[in-house]
């Protein structure tokens, strides 16, 4: 016999113990003429489905398997019961994260579907043995028990494992009796002939002896032998990468805990393997025999829906049909023939494709949300369907907005529909709990994501492996942009912010080499934000399960794997805007009455005042409309109706941006250039977008109108055009389109021109249904901001992090709308922000304060309900506030004005701070705070900086404390303190920019809110800076040349003076084109620098405060300190 099949192979999906991609493995097997190939990653099947698909499409027969950790078999008792010479060293943990386990290895291969299901069950049982994610079940979590192995071995073939298997390890350790015992016991778990002694030639001086011993052992037990190479990488040159991964996976520097002696675990060819095992040809023959016995058919292409409860005599279709017709009656009053015809058509297609049960599952879940008052909205291409609209899953009328069902569900392509629903994130857990209850916990699991390495993480991995100290590792990864590791050298060479990066030192060549090779290597499994898998059979018969960090059970498969298996996946996503909208409505109804505030999702979307607000670019906080790009677009577009909101959401997307659709759209809308289309049918389809193809649905309409394709054919045509096609395939599409167009009476020239335009735009169009679903939420948020700005701002602040801007800016925006900002106070604030003075003031809440905790927050609210706090002592006595929390409260003025000193006035903040430890000590000692403690106000508190203010603190100091402890500027905007200085420098304020002349030279100043650096079409980097001054927002564009000069300043500072040229025209909107960006230090009167430090990275109680570049916070702080001293 010749030939060989690798049956013990690790890939990247062995997470930090495999240095080869699945595609590379499959391609190598194909090139070497191997008909089959196994994949046996550690402790799971995360790569199995994609391997299965890749191998089959390459013509290689896939063998799915796993290298599991199994409990000790060779000795009945504890290892410690054995004489020292016979004890085995427990192998280092295999697997990663919560799926890792220390113990002996066993290689399992799947013979058939029964074996596949049993392997899933075996792995799930091991991983979920512990009661929770943080419990390791006495070290047995993720270890397969012998009883489970015995129970679930049908359809599986076992190989005794590498030198970290108990059999191999016993031989290496010179304990042959134990090897024999372990082999015999493990073999008894499997059907006769299904257990093999695994021979791996490790190419060490001793490996010959080990192979002989193993072979003798197999003979003595009448077990067959099989040869493997325990493949971990493709070629010898890849071994260093494997060393790096395994060392860092074990949290060590090189050489790591395994200290492999050589680079022989590579993918060897058949002849090389046969030569290595020349004394054991039967071991190589066995690989072929095993491969022939493994014939797994996963039945890809079939769909498996969860069980839907149906009344007797009903089918999923009949129930869906009834519900849809009922819903249609409510949605369309009066009912129209178009709606009736469309619903009939869609229901027929859904029935034909076999998807009624899927729609019923989604309907069931959203019905629960509606019953429970949980705000939700469907999104994505599901909005193209009248069925989802009638069922109440989506809210945008598909007929009114020309949304096409075939874009969602193409009868020509039988593919599982995907309905995504966003739920109020504050109440998403209730929905999840319902799903578990409704379908059964054993039928539901979350979906995994595979986290891969970027430049930052790859640099960290390589640096750790090479033994750099932690501080250096941090320094290496800091200031690297989020880019692929493959581009690390280019980034270091060309990015201005990396000009002085330590990795530019020539000593780090090896580190950079490794970093490049680590590009996109999977690191570990994560949990999908909201993806759930729901199955009819127990979910562990479809996928291995394991614990996720949050204590949820997660599948080892990602969404693509789940889709490939034909299982039902639901995205239960949390949307904080829903929470903010709900909270705004609650606050508004509490103030003006429940009847006075309508449900914002049900409003007619035609309020001119709302569109005025949007067109004025006054959109901070609005869903999907608030980014600097959208504000710029709003100034140019001047939205007037709901279709305009849909267009705005669609235009500012990567595809339309790349295709530069905005400029012709704006020019044609304002009549600057004429609308010219090559075909009248095309003109009718593109009337709403002035002849520009923005939406994917429009591509379908144009293809139907010009070439007479059915919508299903048109969707297939669109999909074909958007994929990478060979020249021949594109020519074929082209020929078909022109031929059918000409057949309909179109001239060849016109057909060619239409095709050219379709080709140019088809790949960049946006799904209109998705935009329309979002636009419903956008309009609701815009309406609330227009009519209830204080409530809206308070709700946005309470639901951070969300949106585009930091909480500080949201509060500043409210102040610019004339809303007073009141500081937090223990006698007035709750956990959340509140609205006072009949909607004209926001009271900052306490939950975001640094050092605040849930217990104290509860105590404050409960005690205040009894009676207000009198003074600091009273507060401490009644709430038992921790000293650091009390200090934070004092510093932000939350205890201002309480009590009296012997000077007959409330104590200053300094006096309270001095008193605080004394009072805490008294409380601890005596159990009470001293009734008249404040009358003994200490004389050693420093004299007030500002005697006119009750706090005794200067404005700069108060502001600094607010920014540090709340992340908010409560007292005033920081630049208010520098108005005189900035005016003297000729700075123009944001609110005055619209009145300035286009192309005039200008100086502006502001705090950095966002800095984005997308690449242009030419591959150069442009920085879009969003700055804020006390009067509004300023958009600054820093082109590559200026970025070279100012890149480092932008990264290392947070307030700037920008000199440049103003762009102010309807075509392009308002922006400053920067020549130079200089740092600016805000100084209070007297020259004291104001620290803009944000200390509330993660307030224990509250949200993450702000999202603008927080990872570099410490570095900025250091740079700022350097600049201010």
């Amino acid at each position: 016999m010749t030939g060989f099949v690798h049956l013990h192979v690790h890939s990247h999906f062995s997470f930090m113990d495999g240095a080869v991609s699945l595609d590379a493995l499959v391609q190598r097997a194909k090139r070497l003429g191997m008909e089959s190939l196994a994949l046996t990653d550690h402790q799971g099947l995360s790569g199995a489905i994609r391997f299965y698909r890749a191998a089959r499409s390459a013509g290689v027969r896939p063998i799915i398997g796993a290298e599991i950790v199994v409990e000790t078999a060779g000795t009945p008792g504890c290892e410690a019961d054995l004489p020292p010479a016979e004890r085995l060293t427990r192998p280092h943990p295999a697997g990663f994260g919560r799926a890792s386990a220390a113990g002996f290895h066993l290689t399992l291969l799947v013979k058939d579907l029964t074996g596949y299901r049993n392997l899933c069950r075996l792995l799930s049982a091991a991983h979920l043995r512990s009661a929770s994610a943080d419990d390791d079940a006495g070290g047995t979590r993720s270890v397969v028990t012998l009883s489970d192995l015995h129970r679930l071995s049908e359809g599986l073939i076992a190989l005794s494992g590498c030198q970290r298997g108990e059999v191999g390890a016993s031989i290496v350790a010179g304990v042959p009796w134990r090897a024999k015992e372990a082999a015999a016991r493990l073999a008894r778990c499997f059907a006769p002939g299904d257990f093999y002694i695994e021979l791996t030639h490790t190419m060490t001086p001793e490996s010959g002896d080990h192979l002989r011993s193993l072979s003798d052992l197999a003979r003595s037990l009448s077990l067959p032998v099989v040869a493997t190479n325990n493949v971990h990488y493709l070629s010898r040159a890849d071994a260093p990468l494997h060393d790096v991964l395994s060392a860092v996976g074990a949290r060590r520097a090189l050489p790591g805990p395994l200290g492999r002696p050589n680079a022989e675990l590579y993918f060897k060819g058949a002849s090389e393997m046969r030569r290595l095992f020349s004394r054991y040809p039967e071991a190589c023959d066995a690989t072929l025999e095993i491969a022939a016995r493994c014939d797994l058919d996963l039945g890809l292409g079939a769909f498996h829906f969860p069980v839907v409860e149906l009344a007797r005599g009903e089918t999923a279709y009949s129930v869906l049909s009834k519900l849809a017709w009922r819903g249609l009656e409510e949605r369309y009053r009066p009912m129209t023939p178009e709606a009736v015809g469309r619903l009939q058509h869609e229901l027929a297609v859904i029935e034909k494709l076999g998807f009624p049960a899927y729609f019923l599952v989604v309907k069931d879940i959203v019905d629960f949300a509606r019953r429970s008052g949980i705000r939700y909205s469907g999104r994505g291409s599901a909005g193209d369907s009248i069925v989802t609209y009638a069922l109440g899953i989506t809210d945008a009328d598909p007929i009114a907005h020309s949304l096409l069902f075939e874009r969602f569900l193409n009868p020509e392509r039988r593919q599982m529909p995907d309905i995504d629903v966003d739920f109020d994130s504050a109440r998403r857990d209730e929905v999840i709990a319902y799903i578990y209850k409704r379908f059964g916990a054993e039928h539901v699991a979350m979906i995994a994501t595979v986290n891969t390495m970027t430049a930052k993480s790859a640099v960290r991995v390589a640096a750790k492996a090479l033994g750099h100290p932690q501080a250096e590792v941090d320094a290496f990864s800091r200031h690297l942009p989020w880019t692929s590791a493959r581009k690390i050298r280019e980034v270091l060479e060309t990015y201005p912010e990396c000009r002085n990066h330590p990795l530019r030192d020539a000593r780090h060549e090896l580190l950079l080499d490794l970093t490049e090779k680590l590009d996109h290597v999977p690191m570990h499994l994560g949990t999908h934000l909201g993806g759930f898998l729901i199955t009819a059979e127990p979910v562990d018969s479809w996928t291995p399960l394991q614990w996720a960090a949050k204590g949820t059970v997660v599948s080892q498969y990602d969404k693509d794997d789940v889709e490939a298996l034909g299982l039902v996946k639901m995205d239960i996503l949390g949307l904080r805007m829903h929470s903010a909208i709900s909270q705004t409505v609650d606050l508004a109804r509490a103030r003006v009455g429940a009847d006075a505030v309508p449900e914002p999702f049900l409003l007619p979307r035609d309020d001119p005042k709302v569109y005025d607000t949007i067109a004025a670019a006054d959109t901070v906080g609005m869903f999907q409309l608030e980014s600097s790009g959208q504000r710029n677009l709003a100034m140019r577009l001047q939205e007037r109706d709901f279709e305009d909101i849909i267009a705005a959401i669609s235009l500012f997307r990567p595809g339309p941006l790349e295709a530069e659709m905005i400029v012709p759209f704006i020019r044609r809308r304002h009549g600057i250039e004429p609308v010219i289309v090559p075909h009248p049918g095309m003109g009718a389809c593109l009337a709403d977008s002035y002849g520009v193809i923005i939406y994917q649905e429009q591509v379908l309409q144009v293809v139907r109108a010009v070439a007479g394709f059915s919508l299903a054919e048109a969707d297939s045509f669109r999909r074909a055009m958007t994929k990478d096609r060979s020249r021949a395939e594109m020519e074929s599409l082209h020929g078909e389109f022109v031929r059918r167009s000409v057949a309909l009476g179109c001239t060849a020239d016109v057909a060619e021109e239409v095709f050219r335009q379709l080709q140019g735009f088809a790949a960049y169009g946006f799904n209109k249904a998705h935009a329309a679903c979002f636009a419903v939420v956008s309009y609701a948020s815009a309406w609330l901001k227009t009519y209830y700005p204080a409530e809206f701002a308070a709700a946005i602040l309470d639901n951070e992090p969300m949106g585009f801007y930091s909480p500080r800016l949201v509060l500043d925006d409210a102040r610019r709308h004339g809303i007073e900002v009141l500081p937090p106070h223990v006698n007035a604030s709750g956990a959340d922000c509140g609205v006072e003075k009949d909607g004209r003031a926001i009271r900052v809440g306490l939950k975001s304060l640094l050092n605040m905790n849930a217990r104290l927050l509860r105590a404050i609210v409960e005690e205040r309900a009894v009676r207000p706090f009198d003074d600091l002592a009273d507060f401490l006595r009644r709430t038992r506030a921790e000293i650091d929390a009390a200090e934070s409260l004092i510093r932000v003025g939350a205890l201002e004005g309480l009590g009296n000193t012997d000077a007959g006035r409330p104590p200053t903040r300094d006096e309270q701070l001095v008193l605080l430890p004394e009072l805490k000590a008294t409380l601890t000692r005596e159990g009470s705070g001293g009734e008249r403690a404040l009358l003994l106000a200490p004389s050693h508190a420093r004299p007030p900086e500002d005697p006119s203010h009750p706090s005794g603190w200067s404005v700069a100091r108060r502001l600094g404390a607010e920014l540090e402890l709340l992340g908010l500027a409560v007292t005033c905007h920081p630049f208010d303190l520098a108005r005189d200085d900035l005016t003297a420098r000729g700075v123009v304020w944001a609110r005055d920019l619209p009145a300035c002349r286009d192309r005039s030279r200008i100086v502006v100043a502001g705090l950095r809110e966002r800095a984005q650096t997308p690449r242009t079409r030419s591959g150069k980097r442009v920085c879009f800076l969003t700055l804020e001054d006390p009067t509004g927002l300023i958009d600054v564009v820093v082109f590559p040349e200026a970025l070279q000069r100012s890149g480092e300043t932008i990264v290392k500072h947070r307030s700037y003076i920008v000199e440049g040229v103003l762009q102010n025209n309807q075509e392009r909107g308002i922006a400053v084109i920067a020549d130079i960006v200089r740092p600016y230090v805000v100084r209070a009167s007297g020259g004291t620098p104001v620290r803009l430090r944000r200390g509330v990275g993660t307030a224990p109680m509250g949200p993450f405060r702000g999202s603008a570049g927080h990872s570099d916070e410490q570095e900025w702080e250091a740079a700022e300190s350097a600049a201010t001293t």
């Binding site: 010959g208 072979s215 260093p240 002696p261 050589n262 680079a263 004394r279």
Partner: protein
């Protein structure tokens, strides 16, 4: 092979058995089995082989994927058998201490030698003279 067949076949009771066990023409298979048997330790293993490290010209037998012969002190040593082979690849991250070798323990002219191909230096070395 594999069951120490050559050792078992060796007739130790033959009349006139010489004192030197390996003087017979059939000694090579016995030597090889003794060298590879796990239950017997070599005297040189106890004291350690004589370690050397000299460059030697080696003729590669491409067909069998092993050294065919090597030249030592002016004499050509034909490789009768490869006893065992191993590989070393360590400390690749440290240029001064990196080792990358493919080693062969061979029987030649009645002696046992360790040959190593040094991948970094791209040369053959004689790294051990066992007997």
């Amino acid at each position: 092979m594999g069951n120490n067949a050559a050792i078992r076949r060796f007739d130790a009771r033959k009349a006139g058995q010489p004192l030197d066990l390996f003087e017979s023409a059939s000694r090579l298979p016995v030597v090889l089995e003794l060298l590879s048997t796990p239950w017997l330790r070599r005297g040189s293993d106890v004291n350690g082989p004589a370690r050397v490290e000299v460059t030697v010209p080696v003729e590669w037998d491409a067909e069998r994927g092993r050294p065919g012969s090597f030249l030592r002190k002016g004499k050509r040593y034909e490789v009768d058998q490869v006893v065992t082979q191993w590989a070393i690849d360590t400390r690749w991250w440290d240029r001064d201490r990196a080792v990358s070798r493919r080693c062969f323990r061979v029987v030649a002219r009645g002696g046992v030698y360790d040959l190593a191909y040094d991948r970094l230096g791209e040369q053959w070395l004689l790294v051990g003279v066992i007997d």
